[in-house]
Symmetry: C3
């Protein structure tokens, strides 16, 4: 298990330096690395300008180099040094201008003076550089040169899609994004955990099918939904958006729009048992793809599972969200929580006893002959499972009602089913 956690971290470290954006070579390079681990991943390309709901897909952005030359001839804000220096989707420029003019195109973060902020301008043509506030304050007067070797052209927007077939057409959605440059928690943690989760899901027979998406944020989910909405509405029983799942300071999730779906209950139950201080954020604080999946008319039961929520940790959207923020423990904690939730989803049926009144447990070896505290806890759990599995509530509700953890209940349910005392209701 620990070994897997380290592998997740190693993948994150490999993906970290790649200069990603909504579109372009960085996205393709990222998807190719993931495909080495998940050979069945299909990589798709959507032409620029494709209509999807109220939106259309953006032009492809190619960035080769970008920097500023100071009056004294020093190169600063070099793209090659840190890909956060260039505002995402900056148009090509070769200009000279005084400092005052240049400042209109420079973004800093005065509240964190040694950090480079992360800025994009996807939906309005523009250009700019991001530097630390310290560097900004030290800029000398005089004439500056600006050089951006970029291109905005009709190309494609890429994404990856992996379908793992289960017994049922009903499916679970796992979605993560691959469109931020060198950000660790708020980017590479998501695809890294998703990759190893896909690997684990595929490792045994599943009741549900799994739809696993590696997409650019916002426009990626909007495009994908515009092409698969009907089937996904029909079949999706639960879903996860994976983001910021690599640090080890918290466990949290954003509920579905109304907070009343099976997956909300499973997330609450699972995270509470992992960390009594876990945080549930209401949907009104959501801002990633879970927002699109839950939109009215889309209405998929999708939550975001996170360690520290985006926007809630100090390094968010700065150059400080680097590999030191995430760890094998942080990534591994998120990975294990997701595994527990998926096991719960797979077992979460409405069950019903097969005997009227209570079955006799003693003659079936289900009643302890020597009683210890632990065996009595189990008998109590077993009897309460039989009492509350009356065909009206699913297993996660039964667990909450009887005050037992689903991880403890699953083996008892298996035993009762094996003995013919419990059956699944339609």
């Amino acid at each position: 298990m620990k070994q897997t956690h380290q592998k997740i971290y190693d993948l994150a470290a490999k993906l970290y330096p790649i200069p990603r954006s909504l579109t372009g070579d960085g996205v393709r390079q990222t998807l190719e690395i993931i495909k080495e681990l998940l050979p069945n991943l299909e990589i798709h390309g959507v032409p620029s300008g494709t209509k999807c709901f109220d939106w259309e897909t953006p032009k492809e952005w190619r960035i080769r180099d970008a920097y500023i030359v100071t009056p004294s001839g020093k190169k600063i804000a070099e793209f090659g040094q840190n890909n956060l220096h260039i505002v995402g989707y900056s148009t090509p420029q070769r200009l000279k201008m005084p400092l005052d003019e240049l400042k209109k195109h420079i973004y800093t973060l005065p509240s964190m003076p040694d950090a480079i902020p992360y800025v994009t301008s996807y939906y309005k043509e523009s250009w700019g550089f991001c530097i630390s506030y310290e560097q900004f304050c030290a800029l000398e007067d005089g004439e500056y040169e600006v050089f951006i070797d970029s291109e905005l052209f009709d190309g494609v927007m890429n994404y990856g899609e992996l379908i793992i077939k289960g017994e049922s057409e009903k499916e679970v959605l796992i979605s993560t994004y691959i469109c931020h440059p060198s950000l660790a928690n708020n980017e590479v943690s998501g695809p890294s955990v998703a990759t190893y989760l896909a690997d684990w899901i595929a490792s045994k027979k599943r009741k549900y099918s799994y739809r696993i998406l590696f997409i650019p944020e916002t426009i990626g989910s909007i495009y994908y939904l515009s092409r698969h909405l009907e089937g996904m509405k029909k079949n999706t029983v639960a879903g996860f958006n994976l983001t910021c799942i690599g640090d080890d300071r918290a466990y949290s999730f954003i509920s579905t729009r109304h907070g009343d779906k099976m997956i909300d209950k499973i997330a609450r139950h699972t995270l509470k048992n992992i960390d009594a201080n876990y945080k549930e954020y209401p949907f009104i604080l959501s801002g990633s793809d879970e927002r699109k999946y839950n939109a009215p008319g889309v209405d998929l039961p999708v939550i975001s599972v996170m360690r520290s929520k985006y926007g809630e940790y100090p390094e968010y959207h700065t150059s400080k969200d680097n590999l030191s923020v995430i760890s094998p423990e942080g990534l591994g904690g998120g990975f294990e929580a997701l595994k527990q939730m998926i096991e719960a989803i797979e077992a979460n049926e409405k069950y019903r006893g097969t005997t009227l009144c209570e079955p006799q447990l003693g003659c079936r070896g289900l009643y302890p002959t020597v009683s210890t505290h632990d065996t009595w806890r189990q008998v109590k759990a077993l009897k309460n499972i039989l009492a509350y599995c009356d065909g009206t509530k699913d297993l996660i509700c039964v667990c909450e009602k009887i005050g037992e953890k689903i991880v403890d209940v699953l083996p008892i349910v298996d035993e009762l089913r094996a003995q013919g005392l419990l059956e699944v209701c339609d």
Copy 2:
């Protein structure tokens, strides 16, 4: 706005000295003064003894003068000095009697020794005087003369009715009473606020129609309901009983019988945003006309909106409930709260977005180019309005869900409707 608050106070001051009762000249004089401001007000008269549900309308009471002459020849408890001195509906008397006998007909308030209490005997023929407990204690022994020049006769019970037509037959009820003598908060505050509210309602086009009643308490609402029940049950979407709405010590309301109507939610939302310490009184503590409007089988969604609730402030039902208890600020605060509630009722539809998934906001000028804290708050509110307006919940529920004030939400809803992004559901 302040000017209107002063006008409300001026009207209250003008109505204050008039000797009102359930019936009679004082009621008619009060209605005539209101009609000067609301020319469309219709003044009705109902003959004494008219059956209405389990009740019948009372005889008309005319009172010209009343006083007691002490053994030493001093006139006390003079009606002309304070109309609270005479028990409402006292029968005519011209008697001589010793102090002991007289005391059976004198009402005082030992807990507030310098105040004259307010007492009536509407439904049982009787007579009496109200004086301060201090005056009562100083009464000398000896023979007293009692003089009451009153009349109980078959006349009429009057009330005022104003219908303001809106686009819809659906209507909002505003009811207030005009049957107490010189009491300020517990009488003239209600009709004074109702008058200027009617004026404001009529000043622009409304979705709903408004039924505004100036009636004697209890028997007035019972009579009116007995004659208009079917139509009111069919059309009334919300209603207000206005009473004790002139002091500035509190904001409060009495909920509908089950506390679960649209108007309850609007009152909670509005008053909470005006005064975090506002009080909601459950219906079991109600005792004014809201009780009749909410009675089983009547079931109109009517609340009482008050500053300090009747029975809950020290001057209630005494001569101390005079003009010093109310103020332009107190009356104005109630007036503004009611305006907010009415604006909320008018806009409280179920809305639904017109685009699948989220619309693109940037291209519609709905996304800030420069972001400040305030613009982001608005974008967050706008996105959450779109997320929760899914046709299932009305706007007040959406506001509660997304944690926004309806006064802030209304202009955003207007903008989204203007841009064709939001529409009213049937």
Copy 3:
């Protein structure tokens, strides 16, 4: 009333010494004593080995004598001294064995070293003795003689059944058990209170019929349900399991499986008004016959009413649960609480007013002419009863809603019905 409480205690004291078990002479002797007080009690016998649901009835157990002879020739653990010394359903033995061997058959309670524990082995053939831990520690090495003069044979399992017919076929179940040997709170309190409750129920005309059962725990209720399930499911409106209802340290009840039945509300309301510190135990902590009555597919609305709950008081299932634990006050408190609950069940209809709007109270003598605090409380209660009896909620819900005790409300309801102002809805 006090007299009845003493009688309940006297019955408990008479039943205490009898050596009961699931079956046998002790049970029959107990039922005969109860029949002296309830002549209509029917005593039934079910042959051993009768199938009932997943179970079958046990063999009859006859125990004449049992003891151990120590190496020094002393008789210990004599059945005749305390019937808890012998493990229930022990098979006949006449053996010699060393101390080490004997110890495998001896049960003690180290946490309460001077108490004899209560142990049975109903469903697996076995034998054993129970002694105090102090006595156990003092056992000398050497050879011991074991003597158990018992018999397990095909006989009968007995129970008592009393049906008290009311106006309706709908019925209330009262169930208690008669299968523990000399235990006071956890045995004789139940049948003693049930006996006098049956007597009180039969003393006046009832709306509901009453089914009162004196049965061996677990197998008794399972057998009875297997033979009467259909009728009981159709007719049972509420039910009580009576156990541990004789000490005076607490009031408590175990709710029905979902805690949402009429009887749950009545128990909460009644016990709260008797003792603000009463305890409600969720059904997941249940372990007596209420568990069988509430099982899925059985689904009878049965609660257990107790003073101190089984398993929650220190003397439970030991020789210390003797007559000093219970008292006339303890038994009487439980008895009175049950009477209140039964009165509430009998009156718990949905009522509806007969007049539209509010009736006029004054002309019916229902409005105080002189008002004191007490009369006003009553008028407030009366008006709120009329306001909330709208045919949608039963009386116990109305009482909770209006904040009145049902014991105070019942006479007002009677008066309103007598005056024709309130009627029962279908």
